[in-house]
């Protein structure tokens, strides 16, 4: 791209979009600040490094899942096959390790489950043009069915490989590995989205599919890459969760259906696609974890927490919805 030529219109558009991006990230930051203050008032222990480390580790799992969810939402789709993708990849990979004792086969099997889910999602959405919400939720049901048949609905035998255990619960210089991995992944994704051609194509596809098509971009490839990244990220989180909890169990991914979406929405990414970014999701992941911990620490029941979460997401969606033709 020839950037030497200064085009006043283009410059002002870039400036305007930067300004809007800045406004969009202010809201989640303000929300994070107020949630943190609320947490400190409820229980001063939230201010300690030990508490912050745990919160950030939990946020890392949501944030890593949120990479895939941010990308799919940016192209105007959604990935609801995440919960059982996490569970199935964790169960299959630990089982493979238990049978073969090979760490590389374990990692490859998890990756295969993730990529398989991703390509199945992409086929439904890009080839058969079925709305991703319906298609991926059906894929999720199939993954659940496969998991049940594979394990006969019994608690799976688990042999957690040492490497997975180290990645999930170990730390380097006092910083847990999930946080380190998340920070690196976040930087890569932010650079990828903001500074590459492919990143721009993702935004273009989410903004206006017809216009993107007309300008010669092949959307099938974008759908495929985005769903593959989402599938692989979920499978990786499945491994991390196994290492963190030291075991696998049926339904271990169930919490990752709506909460990462909440993180994406709280981070200011519009559910109609094309607007937002991963930095917002990064902040949003910390907000949801902190909020959940606060609700837990005042002994709120599971039902009440669900209601609170749902209402918060609804309110945020109403605040962040796309204004007509702005």
């Amino acid at each position: 791209m020839n950037t030497a030529v200064s085009d006043p219109t283009r410059d002002s558009i870039v400036q305007a979009s930067r300004r809007e991006g800045l406004i969009r990230i202010m809201m989640p930051l303000a929300l994070l600040g107020s949630t943190y203050m609320l947490a400190a008032v409820v229980n001063p222990r939230f201010l300690t490094w030990d508490a912050a480390r745990l919160q950030l580790t939990l946020a890392a799992f949501i944030g890593l899942v949120g990479i895939g969810q941010t990308l799919t939402i940016l192209i105007g789709q959604i990935d609801l096959a995440i919960p059982w993708n996490i569970t199935l990849s964790a169960i299959v990979s630990t089982n493979v390790y238990g049978q073969t004792g090979s760490i590389s086969l374990c990692l490859i099997s998890a990756l295969l489950v993730g990529l398989g889910t991703g390509s199945l999602n992409a086929i439904g959405v890009a080839v058969f043009r079925i709305h991703s919400l319906i298609w991926t939720i059906s894929v999720n049901l199939i993954l659940e069915g496969i998991t049940f048949v594979y394990t006969s609905a019994a608690a799976p035998a688990h042999t957690v490989p040492p490497l997975v255990r180290e990645l999930g619960s170990g730390s380097i210089n006092g910083i847990p590995w999930p946080i380190v991995i998340w920070a690196i992944a976040a930087m890569v994704v932010i650079l990828w989205l903001g500074h590459t051609k492919f990143g721009r194509e993702i935004y273009a596809l989410g903004n206006n599919e017809l216009a993107t098509l007309m300008s010669g971009v092949r959307p099938g490839k974008i759908y495929l890459v985005v769903f593959l990244v989402s599938g692989a990220a979920s499978a990786f989180v499945g491994l991390l969760l196994t290492g963190f909890a030291g075991q696998t169990y049926l339904g271990m991914g169930n919490a990752y259906l709506l909460i990462p979406i909440a993180a994406v929405v709280l981070g200011g990414t519009s559910l109609s696609g094309g607007v937002g970014g991963y930095l917002g999701t990064f902040v949003g992941s910390i907000i949801v974890v902190l909020l959940d911990s606060v609700l837990l620490s005042v002994q709120m029941s599971e039902g009440l927490r669900q209601v609170c979460f749902g209402l918060i997401i609804l309110i945020m969606m109403l605040l962040f919805r796309n204004r007509p033709s702005s």
Partner: protein, 331 residues
């Protein structure tokens, strides 16, 4: 185009669109009957109806919203909410129980209408709005009833799942839903408005209709029907369970697609989806009867769903050109 929403003769193409479901149901019934002749006895018919009617009513609920051009992912959560509400508060006295049945119906209609308000006044994407409210509704169910349980009066469950020869209570309930809710709603002006909004929201607005009112009624009707399905499930199981409805969200949608209702909205009838509900329930119960393990149930249902969705998407493959397809969606 506009004539179609005015002339009642629209029923004819709707019946034609339910033909595949009817043929499928007939084939499955014949196969099942050859294997197990007892299914056509009064006992067999009662048990088949009892297995299918909840899904059939849920499919009607989903169809109503699909006709308005949207999707309701909170059908299952509303069903779960109704069962929890009923199982917890339905006391011993008949007056209290009747009051609670009426209250449950209001609760369902209100939950649906809230979806409608979020979609019309809040301008939220229907899919994501109803997904989020489904989370809220099942949260409320969990608050009412953290673990599955509760009880219902004996007369309530025996009456709703009983039968008199071939005349079953569940069949009567289904007919009541059609005659008491569907036909009055869809034959009224509101019903026409719902179809018009599904056809084209902009045209409906420009013709002086209120798309907001139509959407609120479509979602409200969906919530009402969902709560009827929930009450029926409650009578069958006798307990409240926040998670019992989950499968109904997806399956009701599968019934709509299988029943030949266009996902673009604007037209459709209850017939195809109801027949598909019978078809799906009978396939699942036949598989179980043939000794397929219950672990396979999710997988089989998921595969059926995906096949149905793919067959709905096959026309897209025929059109080949993406530009033509996307343009068709935009306009």
């Amino acid at each position: 185009m506009n004539l179609r929403t005015v002339i009642p003769a629209q029923a004819i193409p709707s019946i034609r669109s339910s033909l595949p479901a009817a043929l499928g149901l007939f084939t499955v019934l014949v196969f099942y009957w050859v294997q197990q002749p007892l299914i056509l006895s009064d006992f067999g018919v009662t048990s088949l109806l009892n297995q299918s009617v909840a899904l059939a009513i849920a499919a009607m609920a989903q169809t109503l919203v699909v006709i308005s051009g949207a999707v309701d992912l909170s059908v299952g959560a509303t069903i779960g909410l109704t069962t929890c509400f009923g199982a917890t508060y339905m006391g011993g006295s008949p007056q209290m129980a009747v009051l609670l049945i009426v209250a449950s119906l209001f609760l369902g209609a209100a939950a649906g209408a809230l979806n409608g308000v979020l979609v019309s006044f809040g301008k939220l994407e229907p899919l994501i709005a109803t997904l989020t409210t489904s989370f809220v509704y099942s949260g409320v169910s969990l608050i009412i009833r953290p673990t599955p349980g509760g009880s219902v009066p004996a007369w309530f469950s025996s009456n709703l799942s009983g039968s008199w020869g071939y005349v079953t209570a569940s069949g009567i309930l289904l007919v009541l839903c059609v005659l008491g809710i569907w036909i009055p709603l869809m034959r009224s002006r509101i019903g026409r408005d719902i179809e018009a909004v599904g056809n084209s929201e902009q045209n409906a607005y420009l013709s002086g209709l209120s798309p907001r009112r139509a959407k609120i009624f479509a979602y409200g009707g969906s919530g009402l029907l969902s709560s009827v399905a929930g009450l029926f499930l409650l009578a069958q199981t006798g307990s409240g369970d926040a998670a019992i409805g989950q499968v109904y969200t997806l399956n009701s949608f599968a019934c709509v697609v299988l029943g030949g209702v266009s996902l673009r909205g604007g037209k459709g009838t209850f017939l195809g989806p109801v027949l598909s509900a019978f078809l799906l329930s009978i396939v699942v119960s036949a598989l179980l009867a043939w000794g397929v393990s219950a672990f396979w149930q999710n997988l089989v249902q998921g595969l059926i769903l995906i096949l149905v969705l793919v067959s709905a998407g096959i026309p897209v493959l025929r059109s080949r050109s993406w530009i033509r397809f996307v343009r068709g969606q935009v306009s």
